[in-house]
């Protein structure tokens, strides 16, 4: 197992370097003067131009700039945001819990609904439940989630008036930031109604963000179950008179879960892409909205470092998925 982990980690090094090259290079392949581009249509005075060029190190050769970038990266220095002048890493860490909270709730919804639906659809293959749930899954999979979010806002916030339209909690509540997770912090604060407000703010974005992972997980669970249920050991278990429930729960489900866990892990990239849209629609103060705002305001240090941090995050999660996979399925380790 140790050897397996070490090999995986070793493979990560070139990927990591590649990610830094892309994040660094993307902003630098711009034709023309990056400082002028950042200034956009407002323009920039010659003094400010020289100052910015020196500050951002654009007067040095490209390879030196990259090595500098890498060196600062290892010291945790990702530059300062052009619009707020605060360190990018601090901004990222402040906003990150909001995205994690949203993402965890979304994946939680997707798993607790998607897995049972997939299992049931497989057991009752061809039934109306199977057909309806798989059709819904395909609709969910095809859903433009930015539109889906707007529809939910129209209905639940506009028509029914049940949920707020934006943010993480009502401005009526104020309490110290302990964990960064609004659901936990609001409970810890002990203020009446704070938790409810946090839940109401979270519910629609979480539903929207969970839509595609839910559809993927339901489909994947169904096909994994169908495959496993055709295996000899399931037939043997049935033949020796084991009750159907136990066959499904003990023999089939456990083995079917292996590909499903991989699928769940692979949803992290989908979640990040979804967070960009979901957070924009619901004005959710997380990483996705931060990136979109940075892109529209041409805040290149934020774009560059944000892209890098998100890619590293996805890479680490994928590694964890790989390792979990190796843990559950020893065959992978040996190879």
């Amino acid at each position: 197992m140790v050897r397996f982990i070490l090999t995986k980690l070793l493979y990560l090094i070139p990927t990591f370097l590649g990610i830094t090259i892309i994040a660094f290079g993307l902003v630098r392949i711009l034709p023309g003067d990056p400082v002028l581009l950042m200034a956009g249509e407002r323009g920039v005075s010659p003094e400010r131009h020289a100052q910015l060029t020196a500050m951002l190190g654009y007067d040095k050769p490209l390879i030196m700039q990259y090595l500098n970038f890498l060196g600062r990266l290892f010291q945790g220095d990702l530059g300062n945001s052009l619009s707020t002048n605060k360190p990018v890493l601090n901004e990222f860490l402040t906003l990150f819990p909001a995205t994690v909270e949203l993402g965890l709730c979304a994946i939680f919804l997707a798993v607790i609904i998607g897995v049972p639906v997939g299992v049931l659809a497989a057991i009752k293959r061809g039934s109306w439940f199977d057909q309806i749930s798989m059709t819904s899954a395909l609709v969910g999979f095809s859903m433009p989630i930015f539109w889906w979010g707007l529809l939910l806002i129209i209905f639940f916030s506009g028509y029914l008036g049940w949920t707020p339209v934006s943010g993480r909690i009502s401005y009526l509540y104020y309490f110290p930031n302990v964990t960064g997770f609004m659901l936990i912090d609001s409970l810890l604060s002990g203020q009446e109604g704070a938790f409810k407000s946090a839940v109401l703010h979270l519910i629609l974005p979480a539903i929207v963000l969970s839509t595609i992972p839910l559809a993927v997980i339901a489909r994947q669970t169904r096909s994994a179950m169908l495959e496993v249920m055709g295996e000899d050991y399931v037939r043997t278990a049935r033949a020796k008179g084991m009750p159907g429930r136990r066959v499904i729960g003990v023999h089939a489900l456990r083995n079917a879960m292996i590909p499903v866990i991989t699928t769940i892990g692979l949803q992290i990239g989908v979640l990040m892409a979804g967070a960009i849209l979901t957070e924009t629609i619901f004005s959710w103060p997380g990483i996705g909205k931060w990136m979109v705002d940075a892109i529209s305001s041409r805040d290149y240090p934020v774009v560059q470092s944000g892209l890098l941090l998100i890619a590293i995050l996805v890479m680490v999660v994928n590694l964890l998925v790989d390792l979990t996979y190796g843990l559950i399925n020893p065959r992978i380790r040996v190879k």
Binding site: L138, I154, I276, R298
Partner: protein
């Protein structure tokens, strides 16, 4: 005696006849999937709508009727004859814009898939065929691209290249091509060990001929399925970029861009928000249904079960 030898002689079919049989077999399996057939019908309708948009649309997609702002659909109170799905905030007919929007979506899908397919296939062929350090290097680069969430990378690429439809298509194609490269590589590596490849090599076929004429045609099935699925993702992602203000520029009647313009009216005029999204959903769903059917019809492993 002569009868027996005639019966044993292999039935010679011309290339065209073989192709006809393959298509017939494919259609036999595809037809059994009702969803796929429905998807195909909707997709053909979509293509026809896009081609005949100028004839079908009751109004110009950009004409602004200044005295008919935010008119609701015809069946709702206040609806106006001739504006079936109502008008938007500057008095443009929504139905006409949706009809012309079909051109954008199909065009985007075709361009993105062609670029990603051709690029990815060539890269994958090279990696799979030559192996060794070339393969290692190429696949590392592909892994790196795949480490970024696709929409985010496309978004940043567009921001760098400059917002607009062309750049959005380039960005999405770049983000998609690793999938094609991986598939092609895997298929090439599997096919390369087969005897027919060795036979072709022994009889003197050059590398290029081996790659493109001998191996590639036998790797097409997974690529076709991936192309269909990428087509629907391209429609979705380009609409998302349009929605974020990084895709087609207004006043283009691209569905995502229409949604972005409609956002501020979500509380007052539901129809400007609802219909463009519905158009996206229906198109994407139709293509995905088709993709599922294609996969089942082309995948020999699933076919028999």
């Amino acid at each position: 005696m002569s009868d027996i030898s005639e019966m044993n002689a292999p039935v010679k079919l011309s290339d065209a006849a073989i192709r006809r049989r393959m298509i017939a077999e494919f259609w036999f399996y595809f037809r059994q999937n009702r969803g796929a057939v429905a998807g195909l019908v909707v997709f053909i309708l979509l293509v026809l709508i896009a081609i005949f948009a100028p004839l079908l649309a009751p109004h110009s997609p950009t004409a602004q009727y200044r005295d008919l702002l935010l008119v609701p659909p015809i069946w709702q109170e206040g609806g106006h004859e001739g504006y079936l799905l109502g008008t938007d905030a500057v008095g443009r007919d929504i139905l006409s814009r949706l009809i012309f929007g079909a051109q954008y979506s199909l065009f985007i899908g075709i361009v993105v898939v062609s670029v990603a397919l051709i690029g990815g296939t060539i890269i994958g062929l090279i990696a799979g065929f030559f192996g060794g350090w070339i393969d290692n290097f190429i696949m590392r680069v592909m892994d790196i691209i795949l480490a970024f969430p696709s929409l985010l990378l496309a978004l940043v690429l567009v921001a760098v290249l400059g917002p607009g439809l062309t750049n959005a298509m380039i960005a999405i194609a770049i983000v998609y091509q690793p999938h094609f490269a991986r598939l092609t590589r895997a298929a090439v590596m599997a096919e390369q060990k087969r005897e027919y490849v060795t036979a072709a090599r022994v009889s003197g076929a050059g590398n290029l001929r081996l790659m493109f004429r001998t191996i590639l045609p036998n790797c097409l099935a997974p690529l076709i399925v991936q192309a269909t699925l990428s087509f629907s993702s391209a429609v979705l992602d380009s609409a998302a970029l349009g929605f974020l203000g990084m895709g087609a520029r207004p006043p283009a009647p691209e569905w995502g861009t229409m949604l972005a313009e409609a956002r501020e009216f979500i509380s007052s005029a539901w129809w400007v928000v609802t219909f463009p999204g519905l158009a996206i959903l229906i198109s994407v769903l139709a293509i995905n249904l088709m993709g599922d059917g294609l996969r089942d019809a082309l995948d020999p492993k699933l076919k028999r079960s």
